[in-house]
């Protein structure tokens, strides 16, 4: 059970607005191995974002089991989920979600601050990461002084700085132009290879899909297809199953 970075077993999630019920995940099961670089794709409403939110413990499934880093998220309290996100999971959002009052450096070190890491260690780790992903020299700029691509790279740095086992990215290139999107994917792929961190991202963008080592297509809250391409080590060990 613990050999998977992520394992979902018959996960169901339905959103309710008054009398209206909208099923988002309909008994979805899949396994993702450590170190995989996975893209999920599908039309709007297919369940991509819900899937990422549930894997990240940002939302609760109605039923099923969600195993991340060896822990069943369904059994964890809100506080334990927060702790898991803080230590083991990084998030990259479509709209960056940087804190506007903080500089790029402060945004990136924020999660380390929550972890209680000493200032010197925080500084060293953020500086190293900024240097690796081409943000050196931009440390003191606020989000409004950065381009979209730079902001998203700061968001990636914020997600990576805690050295998590898993990065979840919800349409990370949706607000970026092609060149910037490719540059960001280069950064993410480089970090995936260099650190072995598992990446799962949702996308509509064909060029992003091409870069994924494994492509999971969703439709109506179920896995439509699961395709493994040339991938780094262990990428081929993952699998997905459509529920009956």
């Amino acid at each position: 059970m613990t050999e998977w970075a992520v394992e979902l077993r018959d996960v169901k999630k339905t959103y309710r607005t008054g009398p209206i019920e909208v099923p988002a995940l309909r008994g979805l099961s899949l396994q993702i191995a450590p170190g995989e670089f996975v893209a999920t794709a599908g039309p709007s409403g297919s369940g991509k974002t819900t899937l990422l939110n549930i894997i990240g413990g940002l939302d609760r499934a109605d039923s099923g089991e969600i195993w991340v880093a060896g822990r069943n998220l369904q059994l964890l309290s809100s506080g334990d989920l927060s702790e898991l996100r803080l230590r083991r999971i990084g998030f990259v959002f479509q709209t960056y979600n940087l804190l506007p009052v903080l500089t790029a450096f402060e945004n990136a070190e924020f999660t380390l601050l929550l972890q209680g890491m000493p200032a010197a260690q925080r500084r060293a780790r953020v500086e190293k990461l900024f240097s690796e992903i081409g943000l050196a020299g931009l440390e003191n700029r606020r989000p409004t002084e950065l381009s979209g691509g730079q902001q998203q790279r700061v968001a990636v740095a914020r997600a990576m700085v805690t050295e998590p086992a898993l990065i979840l990215a919800d349409e990370p290139t949706a607000n970026l132009d092609s060149a910037t999107a490719i540059a960001l994917l280069d950064v993410m792929e480089h970090l995936n290879r260099a650190t072995g961190t598992t990446f799962i991202f949702s996308t509509h963008d064909p060029q992003v899909m091409e870069r994924a080592h494994r492509m999971i297509r969703l439709q109506d809250g179920q896995v439509l297809s699961d395709e493994t391409r040339g991938s780094p080590e262990r990428a081929n060990v993952g699998s997905a199953t459509r529920s009956a």
């Binding site: 940002l58 939302d59 927060s82 996100r85 929550l114």
Partner: protein, 396 residues
């Protein structure tokens, strides 16, 4: 923030004005004639029998007693007094009056009647047969400065005391009972009229450094002086229960006004805190997504509420300072509406309503608003801590 700051400024304004009115009432009520503490022989008050002097028929060493009183650290000044009642006659008219014998060099240290002289002059040792009285009495009897006056009274030994005096000064206090019924004369002159020896006085009037300590100081002085002669010391709340009642009434009104402004401030603060949290729902959701624990979210919001409260109180205080300064230095001029002099509960308060700094009330208001801000933040903080991060992030 504006709600807390404005609410606090209003609370300071109300507290300052009401404390000022309270203070003016007490100050004017005690400083005109009464004084803040009166030391008398037991049983003298309220009958005011002429023969009931301090130390009984033998009297007491007045200078020694004054020295003991003056040595008390709470006492600002003290003065001896003698009282009597009699009939004042001048020309063809007469009136019943209260006679008050004072030491002209000591009395002005404890009361302000000397500053109310509108014609002539205050009593001095040089005019032992001089008297000073109110303008309404002078007008009623038809007296002018220099008029000869006959005073007739029952002396302490049961005989009739009478003598001729000269009107040397006329005062106007604005208080009808004083302007119409009080006659001031020197202590030796009244003792002579009442056939009292120099050692026999009815009262020592006392002014304190801090009037709020009057009751405590009176009890201490009574114990201290009682070691020599039996005495009864009364503070102004006992001497003027109507004034004490008014002060209580004033405190009640202050409490009601305070409560109204406080309630307004509380509603503002609660609204501010709720809005502050709900407007930042997305940001808080993002922080939780990054790993901030629910307890940390509550602490963050509470810390922000505390910071907001402190900053708002400082701004409120800054807004109020010039207002409070103006109230204390210049006062509110009510002359236009009230015609110059206002009398409340039998006490002249003047046409200017001065404020007075009431720091304990300011501190209570600040504490109350700060606690309100924190309590108001609890519910939104608890709500925020229980957001699902996805729901929070979705909000714009």
């Amino acid at each position: 923030m504006a709600a807390i700051a404005f609410g606090y400024a209003m609370l300071l304004f109300v507290a300052c004005l009401m404390a000022g009115l309270r203070w003016q009432m007490i100050e004017n009520g005690t400083s005109l004639v009464m004084s803040q503490i009166q030391v008398q022989a037991p049983g003298y008050y309220p009958s005011r029998a002429v023969q009931k002097t301090l130390g009984g028929r033998k009297g007491t060493d007045v200078a020694a007693m004054l020295a003991v009183v003056a040595a008390n650290r709470r006492v600002y000044a003290a003065a001896p007094r003698v009282y009597g009642y009699g009939l004042l006659s001048a020309a063809h008219r007469s009136a019943g009056v209260e006679l008050m014998g004072i030491a002209p060099d000591q009395e002005p240290k404890i009361t302000i009647l000397n500053s109310q002289i509108t014609k002539g002059e205050y009593l001095t040792e040089r005019t032992p047969k001089g008297v000073v009285l109110g303008d309404k009495l002078a007008s009623t009897i038809g007296m002018q400065l220099g008029s000869e006056i006959v005073l007739l009274t029952q002396a302490a030994d049961g005989s009739m005391g009478n003598d001729v005096y000269t009107l040397v000064g006329i005062f106007h206090t604005g208080l009808d009972s004083v302007d119409r019924g009080l006659v001031l004369m020197t202590l030796p002159a009244l003792q002579d009229l009442l056939h009292l020896a120099p050692a026999r006085i009815h009262e020592i009037g006392i002014k304190l450094n801090d009037i709020t300590a009057a009751t405590t100081a009176a009890a201490a002085l009574e114990t201290q002086l009682g070691k020599t002669v039996p005495v009864r010391a009364r503070a102004w709340p006992e001497l003027a229960p109507e004034l004490a009642g008014y002060v209580q009434f004033n405190r009640g009104i202050t409490f009601v006004l305070f409560s109204i402004f406080f309630l307004m401030a509380v509603i503002g603060v609660m609204n501010t805190m709720l809005m502050a949290v709900f407007e930042r729902t997305r940001e808080l959701g993002m922080l939780m997504a990054l790993g901030m624990r629910p307890a940390q979210v509550i602490m963050l919001i509470m810390a922000e509420a505390a910071g907001l409260a402190v900053a708002s109180l400082l701004v409120g205080a800054a807004l109020a300072v010039p207002l409070l300064w103006y109230l204390q230095v210049h006062g509110l001029n009510l002359g236009g509406a009230a015609g110059g002099v206002i009398s409340l509960a039998g006490i002249v308060v003047g046409h200017l309503w001065y404020g007075r700094q009431d720091f304990p009330a300011y501190a209570e208001a600040a504490m109350g608003l700060a606690i309100t801000a924190l309590v108001s933040a609890l519910y939104p903080a608890w709500r925020a801590a229980h957001f699902l991060p996805t729901e929070a992030i979705r909000k714009v």
